[in-house]
């Protein structure tokens, strides 16, 4: 096979794809079935360090671990790497806190149909952030490679484009068919945040609706912090084994946070708060006003519920529940 003209991306690979390093980590990690409940503050203090590579579950404005992302800003974490795997409102929050210096970008700085985040753009246009380009599929498969205990997975995307040129992928030929493929290095994050519908105190989690990549992210990450709408008993988990998406051994911390995906949508529970998300986008246009907005909503709030109160509290939640259920 002619492997002479195979190309490779010039983008930096921010985390080692070596599966033996991750095997060694898991070999030493105890898998005790113990009560993992804690607080947002303690979990972020204990499991998130400056410089860590962070993966955030959900889909930007759907089933997002808002409380944890706010706390990262509140605790002024710095120099994080993060995977922009449909990172919309979460990318917007992290940008507001200037928490990261490198990013695997598949989808960033935008809020889908709602528009672009002026402040996130400012951050990414500053020249201070190292960006490696990927696609949603490529990042999903990089997490899957890690979840499978592999150093890479082949794919058929990105070939021939600038996205490939600025990625960390390599071209390769199938040893059986000679087909040209884009080989994707496994992505093993240091820490992951995931919001779920139900979890027991050991970290066994159930998710309704789309998984996005959260089953793979949970297995791929060294440390996983879960926030959950509801804590349920282990008996309840065992009643429907097919519903368990994330098993306990992946999880380091569990925090019960009803309405924890606000202002994002929580499938089957409440819809996204479009007014508040538009307020974010609007306020970002004026740096001064935005600073005050972030002080008010994040730095000067002690908890997620203070933030929720500021923006309508249970009245707002009830309205969002109605939108979710009555459409």
């Amino acid at each position: 096979m002619d492997t002479a003209n195979l190309k490779q991306g010039i983008g930096e690979i921010f985390a080692s794809p070596n599966s033996d390093e991750m095997r060694d980590f898991f070999r030493k990690k105890k898998k005790l079935i113990e009560d993992k409940r804690t607080t947002v503050k303690d979990a972020v203090q204990k499991y998130v360090h400056n410089g860590d590579y962070l993966a955030i579950g959900g889909f930007g404005g759907v089933r997002i671990p808002t409380a944890l992302v706010h706390e990262v800003v509140r605790q002024k974490k710095k120099d994080l790497g993060f995977s922009g795997h449909v990172s919309t409102h979460d990318c917007q929050i992290l940008s507001a806190g200037n928490c990261f210096n490198r990013c695997d970008a598949a989808y960033i700085v935008g809020l889908e149909a709602r528009g672009l985040s002026k402040n996130a753009r400012r951050v990414f246009e500053s020249g201070n952030i190292k960006v490696t380009e990927w696609t949603n599929g490529a990042l999903s498969w990089r997490f899957k490679a890690a979840a499978m205990g592999l150093p890479y997975l082949p794919s058929r995307v990105m070939l021939g484009t600038d996205t490939f040129k600025y990625s960390g992928a390599k071209e390769g030929l199938c040893p059986f068919t000679g087909q040209k493929l884009a080989l994707l290095p496994a992505l093993y994050p240091d820490v992951a945040f995931i919001h779920v519908h139900r979890a027991d105190i050991y970290g066994n989690c159930q998710i309704e609706g789309i998984l996005v990549a959260d089953d793979d992210i949970a297995k791929a990450s060294k440390r996983v912090i879960v926030t959950t709408e509801k804590i349920i008993s282990n008996e309840e988990i065992r009643r429907e084994p097919h519903k368990t998406v994330i098993p306990y051994w992946c999880v380091d911390a569990v925090i019960e946070i009803p309405y924890g995906s606000y202002p994002g949508n929580m499938p089957g529970e409440y819809y996204s708060d479009e007014e508040h998300l538009m307020e974010w986008l609007k306020t970002e246009k004026d740096p001064e006003a935005f600073k005050a907005f972030i002080d008010k909503n994040i730095y000067n709030t002690k908890s997620f519920y203070e933030y929720l109160e500021l923006n309508g509290g249970m009245k707002k939640i009830l309205k969002l529940k109605q939108i979710e259920h009555l459409f």
């Binding site: 889909f59 930007g60 404005g61 759907v62 922009g84 449909v86 919309t88 598949a106 989808y107 960033i108 700085v109 935008g110 889908e112 149909a113 709602r114 672009l116 753009r121 990414f124 246009e125 500053s126 020249g127 190292k130 960006v131 380009e133 990927w134 696609t135 949603n136 599929g137 490529a138 999903s140 899957k144 794919s155 058929r156 995307v157 070939l159 021939g160 484009t161 600038d162 996205t163 600025y166 071209e171 040209k180 493929l181 884009a182 309704e208 609706g209 789309i210 998984l211 996005v212 990549a213 089953d215 793979d216 949508n265 929580m266 499938p267 089957g268 819809y271 996204s272 979710e324 459409f327």
Partner: protein, 251 residues
């Protein structure tokens, strides 16, 4: 806008599988299901499969994309279905498109480390355009968007034309199919893979086509005039698909 949605809907035949985003593509798919394609299967890249959409989703991952769906799954599985050759169509947009249908949704400027403007990037666009059989683009047309050279090829069209797309290793027989704008509908030349006019919208002129593209669009002698939306299409669109006029309201 109603015209563009109707054209998009007509291009989705019965029994096809399509991955859509929010807005126009979603409206087009819903309209197609209500008219000629009741067996059209709609997928959302975030994991929603064949929902009975109760309303327009705002996010391609929100709960409406799985409402009474046939399956709720992961993004990886949706992309794998595309990679396996199950998906016939995808709908895309972009900040810039060139004559070979290459799309830019990443940066404006020539310095990737310090771009003049940063856009979201590929999202699922590169995946879908690489893997689905036919790529449909719906976009307003003007000189800035229809660029001779896009600043960044985020998503593959026919790359440098001819056979360059398959030579790059992308799956055979895939590629850009139609570009639907506010001026006309475009396809691609069989061999050169350059953009060419298929039909001109009522009231638009060849001059409009030329004035609103930086590159030269092939104008064959036998181009058509786009059919106006039928009253059946308009009724479905206004009363069932988008009663609150979220999308058809737009310019």
């Amino acid at each position: 806008m109603e015209l563009m949605i109707s054209i998009a809907a007509r291009s989705l035949e019965d029994g096809a599988v399509v991955v859509v985003g929010t807005g126009v593509p979603c409206a087009a798919a819903m309209l197609a299901q209500m008219t000629q394609s009741p067996n059209l299967t709609v997928l959302f890249e975030a994991g929603g499969i064949a929902p009975l959409l109760p309303a327009m989703p705002i996010s391609v991952g929100d709960s409406r994309t799985t409402y009474k769906g046939l399956k709720a799954t992961s993004m990886a599985e949706i992309m794998e279905l595309c990679q396996a050759g199950i998906v016939d169509y995808c709908f895309l947009g972009g900040a810039q498109i060139d004559k070979y249908g290459n799309l830019n949704s990443t940066i404006i400027g020539d310095n990737h480390n310090k771009p003049k403007t940063r856009f979201p990037g590929s999202g699922g666009a590169n995946d879908l355009a690489s893997l689905c059989w036919k790529t449909l683009v719906v976009t307003p047309q003007n000189k800035q968007r229809f660029a001779t050279k896009v600043d960044f090829i985020t998503t593959p069209g026919y790359l440098e034309g001819g056979n360059s797309r398959t030579e790059a290793g992308l799956p055979k027989n895939t590629g850009p199919h139609r570009v639907i704008t506010d001026i006309g509908v475009y396809g691609y030349h069989e061999y050169s893979k350059e953009m060419q006019l298929i039909s001109l919208h009522p009231g638009k002129t060849i001059q409009d086509v030329k004035d609103n593209a930086e590159f030269e669009i092939i104008i064959p002698d036998n181009y058509e005039i786009t059919k106006e939306p039928t009253s059946e299409e308009l009724t479905a669109l206004r009363e069932k698909v988008d009663p609150s006029k979220v999308i058809i309201g737009r310019g």
